[in-house]
Symmetry: C2
Subunit: 424 residues, 2 copies
């Protein structure tokens, strides 16, 4: 099953409402009326969720689902410590960063210390979304270098703002890349970065930054050594900066320390953060080397009304505390290994349906000739995953980090059943 | 007192720490280490806040302040219904818009109904910040019109993303406007819009949109009839759209219905929303006419991980409910009138220090030859306001909408004392 470039993976087709029950059909219709055509739903039979806890979701009819997809609620749905942190801080104080507050200084310190290297000796800045973090990172990189060019991977996704959409190839043909953007192949990273930097120099003022999702999520999830170190060297040789986009790969997702870039032995100029940072509360941000933001900070300044407000910081602190106290990085590593081992075993039973299995920790990609049928088959069995990759033919398994060995068993059993009857 | 263009109003000078007590000096230093140079603080003596309730804030030493500035917590600091809504929804479910949920459909319906007109028959879309809302509005406007040009007011502020910074003149000379941006004078709105549209046609492909903060906040707060209707007609004659930026003026701030644009008798093509929408929880969005977003929605789509998530919607719903149930629009109108009447009386006692008094509801601007001294004098008396306008010489008084008649008396007494000894 292929799809036109730019079509979203695992999208519900709003013209295909016949199979839905009457209540769902009516809710889909009203939703379309109010939210309009830019919104998409997952699955051929969209899920109407009403409650979540840990790795489980429940729909309006009381059916229980295993959530093997949502990376935002990374410490688990409705985690009590996160709820308590939001409640306490919302009842105490919600103000922005133009007043002094101790908590943001403490959290920024802990966050920076977790990076190490030059970047860890730098500064932390706060936004509300990963898009805003990447947008700000580019503003800083361009101001620092005095250049415009940006190098991205072939199927990159870095955000929904005007500027980040222009560096997000995976949004498809109707969302044009900037004239100052060059794409590189994950398989030939260093070689392509060198050529792209030269090309940007030939067509303009050169390269400001090379930005990479440390898990190459929208490219299909690549977590092995792809020569990122040499590519970073190439962009620095050309006078550009390296931005590690940890919106997907950060906060322990890859089961191997908190940060995906560290697995490649590089020390970025900017690291951007998002999704799991507040377990669903909108908080995001970046770390940046001191000298990189010195002039931008002095000349331009940056203020984000909600970014780093007292509640956002309280939630982010609770999430970081839970990751540490519940040893979720270790859990991600261990349970992720079990999951991949189980998938390898399953592939022996279904060699035509499961191809390459990639990933690290609880971020797993599995190539397959018919991702849509498997994703929807699992959904019918109340296990939620999705698809990724240039042709949408990679299963994306990316559960909350509290995923357990029992959860692994559950998803493998469901997958086995779906693979046995893929068109069921 | 004047300031260089691009300098922030009411900013603390980080080189001027001598006057601070040792603890504050140390916190300012640590903050600078961790957050870096892009962050700014308010006041020559920054306020270290730890608690808020209603219209009051308390600092780390237990001192009470009257908050006559913070428009984000528009239903009051730590409002119990807002806290309860966050707590309940965070404990129940926090998921994004690719699953079905009834609450977002209900809230979008109530929001759209509050607009009326063509825009009210359109669609609602959700982001996390006003910057994201304006950024998305421009993406939609440019896709719809196939044009790039944007017309803004002289001292406009519309956001901190790369694209919205390019339409934010008030960010100053180090943050360049786009080559496709034209500025117009508030005093000659229609005439200047017509000329700017022609100029954009001459220099490129014409005008995509004219965007206006309905309270002209950063221009100095103008709430009288500035001929906005004729200016909107002018941009439409040139094939452009009109975007009403209600991030500052919306949700009852102007005491005259929920929306600032409505006071000018116009029906916008896009309305953008932000700051007070979630009383500090990061939620924002836009309303857009159906035909304006039809192609963008179909071809490009829009997904914002946290935008419109179940918790954001629960908070936004609580805020809208409180505004209605506590009749805060009416309160804004009534108390705002008392405040302006009091300021007029005060001006009779201090004719050299208070000039033009503008505003509507609880958004008030007062011209003065020495805003910095007054703002810092009030801060010393534990009343918090700030300054705005091209030269920073307009007092900005913009309290939570729950401001009371007693609060008015308190700020007027403090202001009277400051004006009597401005260099105290």
């Amino acid at each position: 099953m292929t799809r036109a470039r730019g079509r979203m993976n695992n999208a519900f087709d709003p013209s295909d409402t016949e199979r839905l029950d009457p209540q769902t059909r009516e809710l889909v219709r009203e939703r379309g009326e109010r939210l309009g055509p830019a919104y998409r739903l997952f699955y051929t039979d969209p899920v109407h969720v009403v409650r979540g806890l840990g790795t489980r979701l429940w729909d309006a009819d009381g059916n229980e689902y295993l959530d093997a997809y949502n990376n935002v609620v990374s410490v688990g749905h409705a985690h009590p410590r996160v709820v308590a942190a939001v409640t306490e801080q919302m009842s105490t104080l919600c103000t922005h960063t133009r007043y002094l507050h101790e908590d943001i200084v403490r959290y920024a310190g802990e966050l920076l210390d977790s990076f190490g290297g030059e970047i860890g000796a730098g500064h932390a800045m706060f936004t509300c979304t990963g898009s805003e973090a990447n947008d700000l990172a580019l503003r800083i990189a361009r101001y620092r270098t005095g250049r415009d060019g940006v190098i991205i991977t072939d199927e990159a996704y870095h955000g929904n703002s005007a500027q980040t959409a222009e560096i997000s190839a995976s949004l498809g043909e109707h969302s044009p890349l900037g004239t100052w953007v060059r794409q590189v192949r994950v398989e030939h990273l260093a070689e392509d970065v060198r050529a792209a930097a030269a090309d940007l120099h030939r067509h303009g003022n050169g390269v400001a930054a090379f930005i990479v999702d440390s898990a190459f999520s929208s490219d299909g999830i690549y977590t092995h050594d792809v020569g990122l170190g040499a590519a970073v060297e190439a962009v620095r040789d050309a006078g550009g900066l390296f931005i590690a986009d940890e919106v997907q790969s950060g906060f322990g997702r890859l089961g191997d320390g908190l940060w995906g870039y560290a697995r490649h032995g590089v020390d970025p100029d900017i690291v951007t953060l998002g999704k799991p940072m507040g377990n669903g509360f909108p908080v995001a941000g970046l770390a940046v080397r001191r000298e990189v933001v010195a002039d931008f900070g002095h000349d331009v300044r940056y203020f984000n009304t909600f970014g780093g407000n007292t509640v956002a910081i309280a939630v982010a602190q609770a999430v970081l505390d839970v990751i540490r106290d519940e040893q979720l990085v270790e859990n991600s590593r261990r349970v992720g290994s079990e999951l991949r081992a189980g998938l390898v075993a399953l592939r022996e039973r279904h060699p035509e349906l499961l191809g390459e299995i990639r990933g690290s920790g609880l971020y797993v990609g599995v190539d397959t000739p018919d991702a849509a049928a498997i994703v929807n088959g699992l959904r019918a069995r109340r296990v939620l995953i999705s698809a990724t990759g240039p042709a949408g033919n990679t299963l994306k398994i990316r559960p909350p980090l509290v995923f357990s060995a029992d959860d692994v068993e559950l998803i493998l059993d469901a997958l086995d059943a779906v693979l046995a009857q893929p068109n069921d």
